[in-house]
Symmetry: D2
Subunit: 228 residues, 4 copies
């Protein structure tokens, strides 16, 4: 498996117009530029159709937004772990609040990523769900209170206790699991606050993708990781 350095800034392109197709490639190149300039680890999470282009045209680590708990076979329209790996992804989000899975499928998907040396980043909506997820031995857990996603109200400020409680619960179950947090992060100080609360990185989306100047925002985020 690829060695993921922390602190990690993970940028989810969702299905935003600014993060789809050619614009996805541009945005990935911007992220790559910031990463090279600051030596801070930045990963991108584009649409499935954009993984291969970005993996081909940049050196930045690319993650899928979703993988199904399937093996090779007759699964039309599903996302096979092997296919995202061959397209160049190094890992995947699992159970994002916009693409939630049944519990047994989260477990099965984590196992599929393990088999293929892909990094598994499981999303959770609160501390107890984060703890539940940690029992399934993913590489990372990203806690995001859904009510803050896309609001610009940073979780690290609005609900710091969600972050600290999540970190405490997860580390008690499995200290090797990397904890990220997300939702509402739009400024460097939000990133710094997230790290101070015990996380090892952030999962961001609109704060970067829909920003007027994604380069400037990502640079601020990256610099904030060194000033906590």
């Amino acid at each position: 498996m690829i060695k993921i350095r922390t602190p990690l800034i993970l940028v989810n392109f969702k299905t935003y117009p600014q993060g789809t197709g050619k614009k996805a490639i541009e945005l990935a190149k911007t992220a790559e530029k910031v990463s090279l300039e600051t030596d801070v680890y930045i990963g991108v999470v584009p649409s499935l159709t954009d993984i291969s282009s970005i993996a081909c045209l940049t050196s930045i680590p690319v993650f899928a937004q979703h993988v199904d708990p399937i093996k090779f076979g007759g699964f039309t329209g599903h996302i096979l772990a092997e296919s995202i790996k061959e397209a160049g992804a190094v890992g995947t989000l699992i159970n994002h609040s916009e693409r939630q899975l049944k519990l047994a499928d989260i477990d099965a998907t984590i196992k599929r990523t393990e088999e293929l040396d892909l990094v598994s980043i499981v999303c959770a909506n609160n501390p107890s769900v984060s703890a539940a997820v940690a029992s399934l031995k993913p590489n990372m857990v990203a806690v995001e209170p859904p009510e803050l996603i896309g609001t610009g109200i940073p979780v690290s400020k609005a609900k710091p206790e969600v972050v600290t409680k999540t970190v405490a619960l997860i580390k008690q179950i499995d200290p090797s699991v990397v904890v990220l947090c997300g939702a509402g992060i739009t400024a460097g100080k939000d990133v710094a606050a997230a790290l101070r609360l015990g996380t090892e990185g952030v999962l961001v989306a609109s704060g970067v993708v829909k920003a007027r100047d994604p380069y400037k925002v990502l640079l601020e985020f990256a610099e904030a990781t060194t000033k906590m």
Copy 2:
């Protein structure tokens, strides 16, 4: 929208190992070769992650296996019609028996494909469901009895009445809808039989993708379309 000539041979790569990643590109090139040699219209339906490579490296029309009924926005892990179009797809399967949709979502997905001039091919499991789908004004309907998929028992032989009834019901509702059939098709004579029963093409998968020599099988299929 791309003009789809009929008879059409549509090859669904599913998530078979022989149809994923580099092998998907090879298989698409084989299909292209047969199409150029025979002047028979052949389309391929690879995994989402392979659309852009195949669209880039071949001249063959590429279809997605699935699209979600969403617009640009916060839909992590979903498949946006705009993203498959920008990746190079000319259309998409909708409601394949392995990736079924709620009825209102089939309707909404067809509308999304219309907006983007993508060809919509809706799958249905029997004549009455095919008729239902025809009311939603897709470009094509592909009827596939699920119990025959992957069996090698051709629908055109085992259940010819399913095919003829489907053609009759659909044409009564909307004569402009192209009717395909699928399930169990492995030989040229199955293709010819499908066309004789009134369809304008076939949707095939394992019969081609898992064949020892896909070139030979596709050539037989293509030649059969001219001998009905």
Copy 3:
């Protein structure tokens, strides 16, 4: 199958507090009272857990809110057509906008209700989906634009063309299908308008269930059916 007289007023109790448990029985008795006083056909659609009590304690026709496309077997937590029939239901809603089904499951559920002589009332969100559903040969189709549900803005006033177009499309496909409409109906004049537009009844919920005086509202509705 029970003979359903039209015009029909069908009251969906949803999971409102005013329509659950003991209050569901009271509300069903109120509906029964209005039906007996006016000789207008009124049906009630309570929660699954309340079907047997209401069927036992009133003479009013009781419908389920949902049935799954299953037969006897290992389907924990699913709703078997046989179980709602034995509990006393005479029919069921299928594919309500709050409980949507895959297309093939709508087809299979209608078939299950046919086998058991249960009345099938399939919900649809627009005219083309209503037409699609009519091809599956249900007993009734109820068209409800989801954006008007619970608003108090009656579909018969806000979108009369949705109603007339639905009636026209359905009757063309299968004249025996009874057409209902719903969404935003709170007054007798809305019911009368719905009938004038060609429907044979209404599907109502909050307009009755959450009314201060459901008796008064239902009486107004029932009287309106005779004044169109």
Copy 4:
């Protein structure tokens, strides 16, 4: 909340013909009889439509097969915790392998049962998923390897390590959680083995419901709980 004594024998009626409608009432009376004769705690899990009759006609604790994570409102066709409580249920299965839930919905459903003092019994398919579930603070976890369900091959014999590992993992996370096991249990010795492996009860279905003489089987099960 009702005090659940252990060892507990929980009989899931699924949607078997022998456990639906009038036969469900008979079967519940049989379970009640065995419970009274042996003083062993037995609970029944009938279809939603049968809860109120069984709760009314027997003294045996009744559980729902499924509850949705909803509150009072517009949720047609969904199962409200308040409705099963008012019908007489004392608790509910959650996430049965035949009715699986998204992880966040398991969490939300457990919280809904807590609010209403209903007993929550969450099903899990393996030890790590059982551990995950235990972090969500349910009252009970029932581990059932899906591949053994309905086979007559008892989990306590075929996969004793699944049971012991589940007990160990759950108790480490929350010692107050009661552990049940299920799948393939058809004889008293299977029940005794389950208890010896550290569980506090069993979840059974076809072994009792489809037995020629459910009284005899349940009596054997009940007696086995005292002979471990």
